[in-house]
Amino acid sequence: MALKLPFVPPKPPPMEKMKKDITQSEAWKSIFRHSYQDNQRNRALQIVDNVFLHLHPVRVPRHATNYSFTWGMGGITFLLFIHLTVTGIILMFWYRPTEAFAFQDMKALMNDVAFGPLLRNLHRWAAHSMVITVMLHMFRVFLTGSYKPPRQFNWGVGVILLLLTFLLSFTGYLLPWDQLSIWAVTVGTNMARSVPLQGSEGPFSNYLGLRPDNDIRFILLGGTQVGEPTLLRFYVGHCIFLPFIAATLMAVHFWRVRKDGGISGPVMNTKASEGAKYIAEKMATKRIAQIKGAPANGNGTAAPVKAPAAPKPAAAPVTAAPSAGAAPAPPPTAGGAKAPPPWLKK
């Protein structure tokens, strides 16, 4: 058999052609901004081109992916929060926050609604779990000393988030409107009676004319005991007010994790943590000087941090210090103590 000439390339199989047509189309390209070939560039684009994933940096220090380090607890807390938002919204279709309906709606949910019990159970167990995971997250952050500079503020944001998690759980506890809920909430809100200067049984209440029907507990409950107005208040607080604040603060919290140099670790090599390292080293140097008995603010060798600021040429590359900020600081003798990083000057 002779070869047919001229040579005609084989037709692409129809699937291949279809794929090409689709992935080259304007619509496809408007949605998917990069190809999926596995290379570094696409992996990076995968993160920065996605509004949800871009919460993350493109690359993280290796230890940040280590489950034993973070226990994943902050992330799990966030996951549970999202889960609670979703199940909570669906629950709202079945629930009316009034004395006449609240308990009846719960009964109906447990007996008549398709997948009602599953929905309610998912919400309740996730809520309990979130309280547990947020406490464990705080415990982890403390144990790794991750609240230290520069993350002091984010720790404070976290403490408010802890409080909000408790309040979210507490307000939700009332909604089933059964014996368990109203009495647990009664026990809890009774504390408001004793607030100094605010509660009817607290210090100075007599002088201020505080009574059960005009004190802070009355404002909280909308009455002198847990009743229908309380149910409405807790409902709105639980479904709108508190989640809104919590979500906002979570945004601040996550943003701060990034701005403070990512997940803490013994390695300090990002821009923000360069600052942290500088502060930590400064503190350690000062302390060593004090231990050695030199004047804390003297201008001798004890305070080398200030000294090299002027003579050092601005263009000199900042050499990576061998010891991380956490390790014992270098002795203050060598004149090579680092100048403050440029963004910290002044």
Binding site: A44, Q46, I47, V58, R59, V60, T65, G72, G75, I76, L79, L80, F103, P117, L118, R120, N121, L122, R124, W125, H128, V131, I132, M135, L136, F139, F142, L143, T144, G145, S146, K148, P149, Q152, V159, Q179, L180, W183, A184, V187, M191, S194, V195, P196, G202, P203, Y207, Q225, G265, P266, V267, I279, A280, A284, K286, Q290, A324, G325, A326, A327
Partner: protein, 305 residues
């Protein structure tokens, strides 16, 4: 006996108490995990990676997040299928259950009500907990141990927080859930939760117990000697003790000097308040001591401590 254990099993397996069992397991596991890493770091020194030791989030982190998401959702779903959330009788404001308990995560706070007046235990102490937590980063003078597990480099901080969290928070929740029965009395696991239990009130104020000095005179006014003794003890503990430590050690201790008087004062007072709780609990549970200081100003400011 087996009836009683059965009784305990009923409490243990109440749907709302399952999370607490879960919490115990998780806390124990993570303590072990943290301890293991701290010990390794303390022995070998911390591993210092270099600039290049970074990994790409996609796939190395996203992969883990995906996996954890699936596991958490599976656990929740299985849990939600197997155990129903409780729904008791409809709310009835005229029928108070015994015991009446706050939600489980507040049981540590409810426990404190046994030992102090409500305005102290229910309002001031929780406020101090929140404020104290927020202050932690600003008063901790130790630059070491930032970003890795260690015990050796910050023994005081770790020990304080561990005791506060594990004992004064988690343990009190566990005891409050499983052992506080009707009347908020302690019941052993093998004891039946008897709603009619009567316990003779044998609690006595400390000065009466020690020296026979009553807290109040026959006419109902405060006994001034008791007020003085109690005041000296309480104020001495919370104010004079930190001042004395400051005076004595500020020369010798660079840590104190670095903190300065204000930070040291705040830290010491918060720390001593925290330490005061288990001391008071011990006095009550072991010696039936009711109050150390019984004092009031005007109509409604009472220091029953």
């Amino acid at each position: 006996m087996s009836d009683a254990l059965h009784n305990f099993w009923l409490i243990l397996s109440k749907p709302d108490n399952v999370p607490i069992v879960l919490m115990i397991i998780l806390v124990v596991f993570y303590c072990w995990l943290a301890y293991k890493q701290a010990r390794r770091n303390d022995r070998l020194g911390i591993f210092e990676a270099t600039q290049s030791d970074k990994v790409q989030v996609w796939p190395y982190l996203v992969k883990i997040e995906f996996l954890v998401t699936i596991i958490v959702l599976i656990v929740l779903t299985v849990w939600a299928i197997t155990i129903n959330a409780p729904l008791e009788e409809a709310a009835n404001p005229t029928l108070t259950p015994n015991p009446s308990k706050a939600p489980w995560y507040f049981l540590g706070l409810q426990e404190m009500l046994v030992y102090f007046d409500p305005w102290i235990a229910g309002v001031m102490l929780p406020t101090f907990i929140i404020v104290g937590l927020i202050l932690v980063p600003y008063v901790d003078p130790n630059p070491k141990g930032n970003g890795y597990y260690t015990f050796k480099e910050r023994p005081f901080a770790i020990a304080t927080f561990a005791i506060g969290f594990l004992i004064l928070w988690v343990l009190l929740i566990v005891l409050g859930t499983f052992m506080r029965g009707p009347g908020w009395y302690y019941f052993w696991p093998w004891e039946f939760w008897d709603t009619h239990r009567v316990v003779a009130l044998t609690n006595i104020d400390i000065w009466e117990g020690l020296f026979g000095i009553p807290s109040k005179n026959v006419d109902g006014s405060f006994n001034l000697l008791q007020v003085a003794l109690g005041g000296i003890l309480v104020i001495g503990f919370l104010v004079a003790l930190p001042m004395w430590i400051w005076k004595k050690y500020k020369e010798k201790s660079p840590v104190l000097r670095q903190m300065g008087a204000l930070k040291f004062g705040m830290t010491a007072v918060l720390f001593l308040m925290m330490a005061g709780l288990p001391i008071k609990m011990f006095l009550r549970l072991a010696f039936n001591i009711k109050y150390i200081w019984v004092f009031g100003i005007g109509h409604d400011l009472f220091f029953n401590i």
